[in-house]
Structures are given as structure tokens and as C-alpha cells.
């Protein structure tokens, strides 16, 4: 059975499988890792816009604070990116 499958695939070796796993893991890592920060940044920007709409004069303070908050939220996506890169090119 296994030998038949190997023959059909044209002789996939263990190294190839590891390669496939790397790509798959990197893609999944980035996809799932960007999900949370995407929601978080969306939330942050929505509330900042709410605040700006309510009090347009507080725009500068809100804007820079929002940027800082977005940067912190983004951190998990950055870690996901790091791990993806490590998976793809280093491991």
C-alpha cells in the first residue's frame, strides 16, 4: 500500500515531507497568527474613530496613542512572521 503510494508519487522521500511540513506550518502560522492582531487592530481603530468622531479636537492625541496601541497589538503578528521565516529558511 505505502509502496504503491510512493511509486505513484514518484518517490517522495522523508526530506521532501519535511519540506512540505515546513511550508504548511509557515503558512498556517502566518494565517492564524495574523488573525488575532487583525481583529485587535480593527477594534482599536474603530474605537479611536469613535472617539475622534465624538471629539474631533482630540484627534492628535488619539492618533498617536492609537498608533502605539496598534504597534503593541501587531507584536503577535510579528512573532508569527518571525516563526514563519525561521520555519521557512532557518530550520
Amino acid at each position: 500500500m505505502l509502496q504503491e503510494a510512493q511509486a505513484a508519487a514518484g518517490g517522495i522521500s522523508g526530506a521532501d515531507l519535511i519540506q512540505v511540513a515546513k511550508y504548511l506550518a509557515a503558512g498556517l502560522c502566518m494565517g492564524i497568527g495574523a488573525f488575532g492582531p487583525g481583529l485587535g487592530i480593527g477594534n482599536a481603530v474603530a474605537h479611536a474613530l469613535d472617539g475622534i468622531a465624538r471629539q474631533p479636537e482630540s484627534r492628535p492625541a488619539l492618533f498617536s496613542t492609537m498608533i502605539i496601541g496598534c504597534a503593541f497589538v501587531e507584536t503577535t503578528a510579528i512573532y508569527a512572521l518571525l516563526i514563519s521565516i525561521v520555519l521557512l529558511f532557518v530550520v
Partner: protein, 174 residues
């Protein structure tokens, strides 16, 4: 030359940091130091101008206030003068009125006393004539001479009655 990995830490890190430090020093002397000094100086200048403008404005407003105060004082003074003049006029009018009334009163009183005198005079005359007429009447009636001395008592009583009538007659008549 060889291809490194994507995340490949090497001496580039330190060298670029050094470059950045050089840039920091360069910019501090080229841009930040003179620019910040310049901006400070200009801010001071603007502040000085603002204070100068403010002081001149204050002076102007002070002048205006003074002028207004003077104006108000003058107005008050003129009003006072007017008031005084009015009061003086009123007083003189009142004086004149009082004097006129006094005069009139005096004239009236004079006239009244004169009238009184006349009346007394007339009354006295009348009294005298009464006595004579009474005597005359009595002589006619009695057909003899009546001497006043003889009937002095009776006559006096009569005169007293006439006096009474003359004094209260007006009241009794009306």
C-alpha cells in the same frame, strides 16, 4: 561573496549603528543645535513683542479710561452747575413769590385795619347820633326837653344794647 540567510546577524549591525551614531553627531551640529536655538530666540522675540503690544494696549486703554473719567467728571460738574442754577432760580422765584405774598398780606392787613378803623369810627359816630336821635325822638314824643344828664343811666343802658346789637347784629341778622 556568498548568499546569506534571510535573518543573518553579522557585523553589519554594529557598522550601521556606528553610521547612525555619526549621523546623530552630524545632525546635532548641523541642524538641531542651531535650529532649536533659533526657534527659542524667535519664540522669545515673539513673546517680547507680545508683551510690548500688551503693554502699549494697556497704556492705550488706560489713556482711554482717563479720558472717559475726565469726561464723566466734566459731565457731572456741568450737571451740578445746572442743578445749582436751577435751584437758585427756584429759590429766587420762591423768594419773589414769598415777598409778593407778604406784600399782599401786608396790604390786605392794612386795608383790613383801615376798614376796621373806619367801621369803629362810623360806629362811634353812629353811637353819638343814636343818643342825639333818641333824645330828639323822645323830645318829640314827650314834647319837652330832655336833658341828657337826667337820663344818663337810661341812655347808657340803651347805648349798651345798641353796642350789643352792633357787635352781634350781623350774626343775628344773618
Amino acid at each position: 561573496m556568498e548568499w546569506g540567510r534571510i535573518i543573518d546577524f553579522n557585523w553589519t549591525l554594529l557598522i550601521t549603528l556606528l553610521q547612525f551614531a555619526v549621523l546623530l553627531v552630524l545632525l546635532r551640529f548641523i541642524l538641531w543645535k542651531p535650529t532649536l536655538q533659533y526657534l527659542d530666540k524667535r519664540r522669545e522675540l515673539i513673546a517680547a513683542r507680545m508683551t510690548a503690544a500688551k503693554t502699549s494696549e494697556e497704556k492705550a486703554s488706560e489713556l482711554v479710561g482717563k479720558r472717559e473719567a475726565e469726561l464723566a467728571a466734566a459731565k457731572k460738574e456741568s450737571a451740578q452747575i445746572l442743578e445749582e442754577a436751577r435751584q437758585r432760580g427756584e429759590k429766587s422765584v420762591a423768594d419773589a413769590k414769598a415777598r409778593a405774598r407778604e406784600e399782599a398780606d401786608r396790604i390786605l392787613a392794612d386795608a383790613r385795619t383801615q376798614v376796621e378803623h373806619e367801621r369803629e369810627h362810623v360806629l362811634a359816630d353812629l353811637k353819638a347820633q343814636y343818643a342825639e336821635m333818641v333824645v330828639l325822638g323822645t323830645e318829640r314824643v314827650l314834647s319837652r326837653e330832655v336833658r341828657i344828664e337826667d337820663h344818663r343811666k337810661l341812655l347808657d343802658q340803651l347805648l349798651a344794647e345798641i353796642d350789643e346789637v352792633a357787635l352781634h347784629g350781623v350774626k343775628d341778622d344773618s
